[in-house]
């Protein structure tokens, strides 16, 4: 079903373009979420979290647990660490694949955390 008003329809293509443009502006301008008038804020490469600017992390590790027992620990690849370090909005997704098909999305890592 199309979104209809007074017999007129907006197409998926138009909505995709609208969403894509909003997403592009969100990233390229640093606009944060909030569509209410006067609620949109701009954060141009700023301290979304003060600890990012005050206590920049130096190393990231992946840890294996069994329950509460730490089994193993390893530093994440430098390229991943560099990406997470590059921007407070940088994220890395961990997904499991088999034969090119994604089985499960384990989640997203954010460098700001």
């Amino acid at each position: 079903m199309g979104k209809q008003t007074a017999g007129k329809t907006v197409t998926r293509r138009e909505i995709i373009k609208l969403a894509g443009t909003a997403a592009a502006f969100c990233t390229s301008f640093g606009f944060l979420q909030g569509s209410q008038a006067g609620r949109t804020v701009q954060d141009k490469h700023l301290q979304q979290d003060k600890h990012i600017t005050q206590h920049k992390w130096e190393r990231a590790e992946i840890k294996w647990y069994s329950g509460a027992t730490l089994l193993h620990s390893s530093a994440i690849p430098a390229t991943v660490a560099k990406h997470l370090e590059s921007d407070v909005s940088a994220t890395v997704e961990i997904k499991l694949f088999r034969s090119g098909q994604m089985l499960r999305n384990l989640g997203t890592i954010q460098g700001k955390h």
Partner: protein, 217 residues
């Protein structure tokens, strides 16, 4: 981070179109400048400095400051730690106002404000449209602004990010000349986007100034 107006300024400085700029120097859907995979440096940083310094984006002008505005327009500033290899002078002498003036940020803040108004309008329309499967599929099933092929991370998310291409189509349809000046082109780009949103509003419904919606974290 690089908005369409900033891409336009850098493109003019390099003597290329925004289309070529986005294809050559942008990443992440055309929203950021490209960085070297090995050295992590911005593509424009050279041994002798920034290649686009005269038209550098706002975020570069602000560095090492970060700036945020809240819903009332009140500004907050913070200082980033010095990046490894950065040769800029860091200090606490002087005022933020003096620093901003020296960096020539005023027009960039003004453009951000105006594009922010367009952005809010887009969000309100998306709220009204209800994007959760309630729209029709086009014949041909285009999946994105870049075309029917699978988009790469480097393809612009939206054709509106490419000011030269956007204005070429807009001006051709209107039978007017494409403006030569950067400020005029940005102004017309904003106007063209406004007309596009007018058309969507006519079909989706006028976006109220202050729609009620749930706050999201």
């Amino acid at each position: 981070m690089a908005g369409p107006h900033e891409v336009l300024g850098m493109s003019r400085l390099l003597g290329i179109s925004t289309t070529e700029f986005l294809a050559t120097y942008a990443d992440n859907g055309g929203t950021t400048l490209r960085f070297g995979e090995e050295d992590g440096r911005c593509v424009f940083v050279t041994e002798s400095g920034c290649r686009v310094h005269a038209r550098r984006p706002l975020v570069c002008r602000l560095y090492p400051l970060g700036r945020a505005t809240d819903g009332t327009g009140e500004e907050r500033f913070a200082r980033f730690p010095k990046q490894d290899g950065c040769e800029a002078e860091f200090g606490t002498d002087g005022t933020i106002a003096d620093f901003l003036e020296a960096q020539g940020v005023a027009p960039y803040l003004e453009w951000s404000l105006r594009y922010g108004e367009v952005y809010r309008r887009m969000l309100r329309l998306l709220d009204l449209a209800g994007v959760e499967g309630k729209v029709e599929t086009d014949a041909g099933g285009e999946t994105g602004a870049a075309g029917p092929h699978p988009a790469s991370d480097r393809d612009p998310l939206s054709s509106w990010q490419d000011i030269d291409a956007s204005l070429a189509g807009y001006c051709a349809a209107k039978g007017i000349a494409v403006p030569a000046g950067i400020d005029e082109a940005i102004g017309l780009h904003l106007a063209a986007m406004g007309e596009w949103l007018d058309g969507l509003e006519a079909r989706i419904g006028a976006a109220p100034d202050n729609p009620k919606r749930e706050e999201k974290p």
